[in-house]
Amino acid sequence: MVSPELLAACRQGDPDAFEEVVRRTYRHVYTQALRLVGDRHEAEDVTQDVYLRVFRGLSGFRGESQFETWLYRIVANAAINQLKRRGRFGQLMAEPEPDRGGTGVGAGNFDLPSGEILDEQAADRDALTAALESLPFSLRSVVILKDVYGLSCQEIGEELGTTEGAVKVRLHRARRRLKDLLFDSEG
């Protein structure tokens, strides 16, 4: 998405480079924020906050990790802060996580496809998105940050204010729930 040369120009204060970084990344930033906060207006607020943080922190970004990974973590932090500001974070994290481990029906109001759709490589992203949305935030946030955006369990734990072990437990449950929702909905 963003080249090292563009980042170097940003660090030197080139306003056009800043604008180019925004143009290249804002859709991804907005989408990740939306997946976490679940509301378009709030996702826009988070996106604005993200770029303020990016400009603040860019001089300290030395490229040890990929820029995208660094950016994803900033989005996660900004989204969680947004939920905290709205008083929703504690409530969302405290949502019950019944580990049914069986049929996917009942987790949400989505009409999920049945059968081995993913095995047939007929990727139904709408079904996956619906399945993700049906997860409680405590599971959804973990699986999105880990399996979609590639943050480590330790990094996710730091962002969510919980332990790496708790993140792994939630990740396990979330993956199992998604698999059940997408493959066992006939069950």
Partner: protein
């Protein structure tokens, strides 16, 4: 199917195994090679993870005016970021502290000088008045 390891042993491990791929050897892998049911379940987990990974490249478009609004706030964002970086810079903090100390010191000296000057003016005025009275 390996007698040492059962499906009940393997199934809870599949979400993690799907992420890392199979190790080269071991009873779990031996079971997976010989058990069609567990192997299929592992395939389902892998398919889920593959689709999740692909989601990172799927974007949701924000509202049409959003980018324009975002870019419009960039100068302000840059200005605030610049001020933030300045405030966080130790050299700037030291300079600000020195400048603040100098201002406080100069103000204190000015006040002292003003009080001394005022007192001497008052004292001088009284002396002139007393001299006039005695004359």
């Amino acid at each position: 199917v390996s007698p040492a390891v059962t499906c009940d042993d393997v199934l809870p491990l599949l979400p993690e195994l799907a992420e890392g791929g199979l190790r080269t050897a071991g009873p779990i892998e031996a079971h997976l090679e010989s058990c069609a049911s567990c192997s299929a379940e592992l395939g389902r987990y892998r398919a889920v993870l593959q689709e999740l990974g692909a989601l990172s490249q799927v974007v949701v478009e924000p509202s049409a005016q959003f980018l324009a609004g975002l870019l419009a706030q960039m100068p302000e964002a840059r200005r605030r970021a610049f001020l933030y970086r300045m405030a966080a810079d130790e050299r700037v903090q030291h300079a600000a502290l020195s400048l603040g100390g100098a201002i406080v010191g100069a103000t204190a000296i000015g006040l002292l000088w003003w009080r001394v000057t005022r007192r001497s003016l008052l004292t001088g005025g009284v002396a002139v008045q007393e001299a006039g009275d005695s004359a």
